[in-house]
């Protein structure tokens, strides 16, 4: 009886185990496919970063596969107006990052636990809305609203800060709101029940807990502001330029190599700022 049962059971076990054993051809095809995918990833996403770095030190790069020779002359030839643009970009970026972080933090604290219905849901929607508005449209709207009396900002750099602030606000608000976790609420209530006044709770309990989020928000605001083009291009006053505006102007006139020297500096500066500000931000777990 048992001898008869065994052969009927074993093939079933074998069937279950089979997906693990693949033939050599299938495995080779899988390997080839993975290799191709890895190459594609490298080609699409790693190569552009290398190209910017390579082209900024190229002596000449047109009609050849690799640059003809290497020199630092594009960096040496950067004019004072290029450096002015870099300084402007950095100043605007700092201002936007700091203001955006403060406003985002304020919004997140005010809206904590109230963003589901009523006025809270409305404020939440409005604060997140610039995420869904095209940057050119937002720039145009700000230009229309503030280009003549009663509020005329069209000839000052404030209008650029203004429009970029509106654009980064949703990101900063999300950063801060994501950090206000339920555990933090428990801590705050514990501190308040022990008699700490609200200002002390904010200073001693909430803000220290929010330091990683504040750093991430600063870094994000800074990086977004440095690379912002659409809105800035629509509103910028005469005699004002940020690095993206200068780079796009040079690209449109065909000066590719100086443009890539300037954009490499921009990338390095923003990367350095990100590292300095956000170096110790724990990797955000998405759950």
């Amino acid at each position: 009886m048992a001898d008869e049962l065994d052969p009927t059971v074993l093939p079933v076990m074998h069937m279950k185990a089979r997906p693990v054993r693949r033939s050599l051809v299938v495995r080779m095809l899988g390997g080839l496919f993975l290799g191709f995918a890895a190459l594609l990833c490298f080609w699409l996403f790693v190569l552009p970063v290398i190209v910017v770095a390579l082209s900024s030190v190229a002596a000449h790069w047109s009609g050849t596969i690799l640059p003809d020779g290497f020199s630092t002359r594009w960096f040496e030839r950067l004019s004072s107006s290029d450096f002015d643009a870099l300084t402007t970009s950095l100043e605007i970026g700092m201002g936007v990052a700091v203001l955006g972080t403060i406003l985002g933090l304020w919004l997140a604290l005010a809206l904590e636990g109230r963003d589901r219905r009523g006025l809270g849901a409305f404020v939440d929607t409005i604060a997140m809305m610039p995420n869904g508005v095209p940057s050119v449209v937002l720039g145009l709207a700000v230009l229309i609203a503030y280009h003549k009396r009663p509020v005329d900002l069209s000839s000052s750099a404030a209008i650029v800060v203004f429009v970029q602030l509106a654009l980064v606000l949703p990101f900063c608000y999300r950063c801060a709101a994501a950090a206000l976790r339920p555990e933090l609420t428990v801590l705050r209530e514990a501190a308040a029940s022990l008699g700490a006044p609200p200002s002390m709770v904010l200073r001693r309990v909430v803000l220290p807990q929010l330091v990683p989020a504040i750093r991430a928000s600063l870094a994000l605001g800074f990086a977004l502001s440095l690379g912002e083009l659409g809105a800035t291009l629509t509103v910028y006053p005469p005699g004002f330029a940020t690095v993206p505006i200068v780079v796009v102007g040079q690209v449109e006139r065909g000066y590719y190599l100086p443009a890539s020297a300037l954009s490499l500096i921009l990338l390095l500066v923003s990367l350095a700022a990100l590292l300095v500000i956000a170096a110790r931000v724990p990797r955000r777990r998405i759950d």
Binding site: P48, L66, G118, L224, L233
Partner: protein, 323 residues
């Protein structure tokens, strides 16, 4: 505060009267009074919070977001005699911008569709079959999000421009007379650049929603004999689709709102909505006409954004139920 206004007050008063100042009744009264004062404090705090929110809405969001957008819509609707639709007629009657919505939508669907397919495929590969260097690629994808988009368009000029590396490489390889690639400054280049730039924006949410999958379900399906395709379509897709859908909609939204790539690669031959708005605002200095185009674009992108928020909220709710 005022124990008279609370519903328990009469009951406690009668209780204290009948039990002739017994200790338990006094404790009851104290408790209900403290409950009432607590309720009043909560109500006061809530009212203060509402005023705080209103203050923020008026002082911060009013000048930053609400007022500009209201002015934009108002300007697009104002004609020479008050209300009018002349600006819209002017924007769409311009022979240069005719068919601009069609062009914009066509480019949007081509590039965002390809980017979503590529992004989901890449994410599944990175998550389920990590190849050597997958971590490096993930790191670069994160870097890409902080990369300005016009810079991506710019690097493609060095790679795929008619004098770029790939073009010259192909020419040398096949001994051609002229460089073979000449598509970059036009529809082809715009689509290529948008696919390269926005695929990472799909990869991240898709990876995140894969990370929340219960791997035991996949192992169970496999041990029951399901093939790879069956696991993918019967187990993984039904569980992970809210994340994938959110990523795809986000990709469509960002691609619709894209400007830098269009300016660098497409402005000469290709009139899309953002470029048309930009040029009528800053080159022609015709703000009402630009505002009309901007309102049309605003409607398109805000409806996509509303869809995104809805899908995201459903996803959050679904995750809450799952836990």
């Amino acid at each position: 505060m005022s124990s008279l206004s609370s519903p328990e007050a009469p009951a406690s008063l009668t209780a204290s009267a009948s039990a002739s100042a017994s200790a338990s009744a006094a404790a009851d009264a104290r408790r209900s009074a403290s409950a009432a004062s607590h309720r009043a404090a909560v109500k006061r705090r809530q009212r203060a919070a509402q005023w705080h929110l209103l203050f923020i809405a008026v002082v911060v969001l009013g000048p930053l977001v609400i007022y500009p957008l209201v002015r934009l819509v108002a300007l697009s609707l104002s004609g020479p005699h008050g209300f009018g639709l002349q600006a819209y007629a002017a924007f769409f009657g311009n022979p240069e911008t005719r068919g601009v919505i069609g062009t914009t939508l066509w480019i949007l669907f081509a590039s965002a569709g390809l980017a979503s397919l590529l992004g989901v495929a890449l994410a599944s590969l990175l998550f389920f079959k990590p190849f050597p260097g997958a971590r490096l690629v993930t790191r670069f994808l994160e870097l890409f999000v902080a990369f300005p988009s016009f810079l991506v368009a710019f690097t493609l000029i060095f790679l795929y421009g008619s004098q770029g590396s790939v073009s010259i490489g192909l020419q040398r390889l096949f001994h051609l007379q002229a460089p073979p690639l000449d598509f970059l400054f036009g529809v082809g280049g715009v689509i290529l650049a948008e696919v390269v730039f926005y695929a990472p924006f799909v990869v991240r949410p898709t990876l995140a929603s894969f990370a929340t999958l219960d791997m035991r379900l996949i192992e169970a399906a496999r041990s029951l004999g399901a093939s790879g395709w069956m696991v993918a379509f019967k187990v993984i897709v039904p569980l992970a689709w809210p994340g994938i859908a959110a990523g795809t909609i986000l990709c469509f939204l960002l691609t619709l709102n894209e400007f830098g790539i269009l300016l660098v690669l497409g402005s000469a031959h290709l009139i899309t909505l953002p470029v048309a708005i930009y040029s009528s605002a800053t080159v022609d200095l015709d703000l009402p006409t630009a505002a009309a185009g901007a309102v049309v674009m605003l409607v398109m992108s805000l409806s996509l954004y509303a869809l995104y928020r809805q899908v995201n909220r459903r996803k959050a709710k679904g995750a809450g139920h799952g836990r």
